[in-house]
């Protein structure tokens, strides 16, 4: 019983982070209909930026937790956002009118570029960040206990805050309205005076900032990362996006949480060696039986 509850806590925090990354996939897919393969590697870059920001801040003698965490978040989000913008500008915008296959191959190329560039710049060895926030809440249940670290609570708080802010932006602001209009019909939106190229760039930047948020949170919690972390977590976040219904924002968050919970339960109860196999199999099964996901609309082919 306590194992299950502990895994549910772990799964919920992991799932909320999957949801953050899945937002990047789902928004980009919604607006230009492509799978942004490099998104997982954008997350990977943000892990490195987190460690770099912490190292820089402590170099300048800033040691208190709120300042470090705030400074790291701002720094990582700004720089990762710039990555998102540049990737779109260099690898995807010149291919706006090409076949989907060409865009997909370009995205895979971009993913390889990011991985190898970070590997060359920072070395292939594993990197780490010092533990920032220690301590935990301990709940006694029957014979065992469930431990909720403050870090996990912090992750949940920031992740849901990030999702809340994003939902507000998309639903209530002018930028959000333009995003939704472009998603519904790009040509019509541009006729009505929306600079769709700029909106697409903005979507890439938003996706990258959400990935940056996830990168900071996961890196602070796990402490260790290397240049290859983006690959696995990217596929899992994509699974979350598909599970929730690709193109749907609440779906991405819901899918992330469901995937995180089911994966944690599988790892805790059945086998942790095969937990990645479980997630990938889940992806294949969803795509075969319910490709529109939980909250997505079925895709209609138009001539």
């Amino acid at each position: 019983m306590d194992i299950i509850l502990q895994q549910l806590v772990n799964g919920l925090t992991l799932g909320s982070v999957y949801g953050l990354i899945a937002i990047g996939y789902t928004m980009v897919y919604g607006i230009i209909g492509m799978i942004n393969f490099a998104h997982g590697d954008v997350y990977m870059v943000s892990s490195y930026l987190t460690a770099i920001a912490i190292a820089l801040l402590s170099y300048f003698g800033l040691e208190s937790f709120p300042i470090i965490i705030f400074g790291t978040l701002i720094f990582t989000i700004v720089v990762t956002g710039a990555y998102g913008w540049v990737i779109e500008r260099v690898a995807y915008r010149p291919l706006r009118n090409s076949s989907r296959l060409a865009v997909l191959i370009s995205a895979i190329g971009m993913s390889l570029i990011l991985q190898n560039y970070v590997q060359i710049a920072q070395g292939a060895r594993q990197q780490g960040v010092p533990t920032m926030l220690t301590g935990a809440i301990r709940l006694d249940i029957g014979d065992g206990f469930v431990q909720i670290t403050y870090m996990k609570l912090f992750i949940l708080f920031v992740a849901f805050l990030g999702m809340g802010v994003l939902t507000y932006i998309i639903q209530k602001t002018k930028l959000g309205r333009m995003c939704r209009a472009t998603q519904q019909d790009r040509k019509m939106a541009s006729i009505l005076g929306i600079n769709t190229d700029r909106i697409i760039s903005a979507v890439f930047v938003i996706g990258a900032t959400m990935a940056a948020l996830a990168g900071v949170l996961i890196t602070l919690d796990y402490g260790a990362f290397d240049f290859y972390v983006g690959f696995i977590i990217g596929i899992k976040a994509f699974t979350a996006a598909v599970l929730g219904g690709i193109g749907s924002l609440p779906g991405a968050m819901l899918g992330g949480v469901i995937l995180g919970l089911s994966e944690a339960l599988f790892a805790g109860l059945i086998s942790s060696d095969y937990k990645d196999v479980f997630s990938f199999s889940l992806l294949v099964i969803i795509l075969i039986f319910r490709p529109s996901g939980l909250l997505g609309k079925p895709e209609v082919e138009k001539v």
């Binding site: 799978i35 700004v78 710049a121 895709e299």
Partner: protein, 425 residues
Amino acid sequence: MSQQTKGINIVSALKDTVIAGLLSLIIFGPVVGVLLDGYDFTFQGADVAFIVSIVMAGRFAISIFSQTEFGEAFLYRQATKDDGVVVTAPGYKSRMRFIIPIMIVVGLLVPFIASKYVLTVVILGLIYVLLGLGLNIVVGLAGLLDLGFVGFYAIGAYGLALGYENLGLGFWSMLPLAAIMAAVAGAILGFPVLRMHGDYLAIVTLGFGEIIRLVLTNWTSFTHGPNGISAPLPTLFGLEFKRRSREGTPFHEFFGLPYDSAYKYIFIYLILLLVVLAVLYIKHRLTRMPIGRAWEALREDEIACRSLGLNHVLVKLSAFMLGASTGGLAGVFFATYQGFVNPSSFTFFESALILAIVVLGGMGSTIGVVIAAFVLTVLPEMLREFADYRVLMFGILMVVMMVWKPRGLVRVTRTGFATRKGSAK
């Protein structure tokens, strides 16, 4: 396009340059400039300055170039380019009919001239030719992006190793069996997925490739996990290529030759060459048959094909299975050439390398794939000191090729047709 000569606007070029410089400072500054070392770091200011200045110089050059008359003409050509297929005149005789026999003769002579090291590199090159040809049917002809191609390669390689260990099957029985196994795996994976949108196929196959690798790594009781498993060598009518044979006489004793480890590579090479030639011929014929034309038609416009009555699932499935079985064949050769297989040979990077071969060689072009496979596998062997930059080069290659020449360097040519004399108009 305006015809009057306008001056080059230096100010706007400089503005572009400064913006590009600032962006590259944000992008490269932290990641390149701050080299992490434990929880500490060292500054690498010179590297950042170098990269930023290259970006700024490049941006400035592009800004100036695109404003010159020549540059405008270049951009115009790029925007309106049409690099589709080249249709040759009916009755056109390609020069290839002289080149191909020469190439085959040269290919057959290679093992007797080349040193053992060169021979092993060429065998590896040929294995990638086989992989490239397989993926070219799937990606190039049918337009289905398969990112788990390495899964079929692994099925072939592990098929040989495990078949030998558990069932005592040798190279010759596993060669067709592995092709069939890979094709069946392709059918099981492809049939449900091919009904859906093309992009999902990429993700599903990527997941499939990873599942295969993870299972091979974790199922230690069957596959021996990361330690790998040994694979048998091919035999010549029962003659083995080992120094000592458990049963029967080894090859070198039978012919009274001194033992040389190069014999087995020569033998593998010759079989592999024949298989590659057979696959090349089959692919060449298939692209001229209705099924090959259906693949390409589906790639270009799926909705039009379906409304003309093509069964898109079966047509795609045939391409997918054929590509998978070619991957399985390549896997058998890889296992026997290495004498040993382990899961680390079947990572996503391998799939990306095969995809890079297809992209560079040209979607659907056979000769291009052959050249690209050799360039991308033999070149890294020669340029060992740039080994760290290999993946970076593949990535840049993919992006640049897609932006610049999405159909690859070698253009696809197609024979023209004319109505025969006396036939109905």
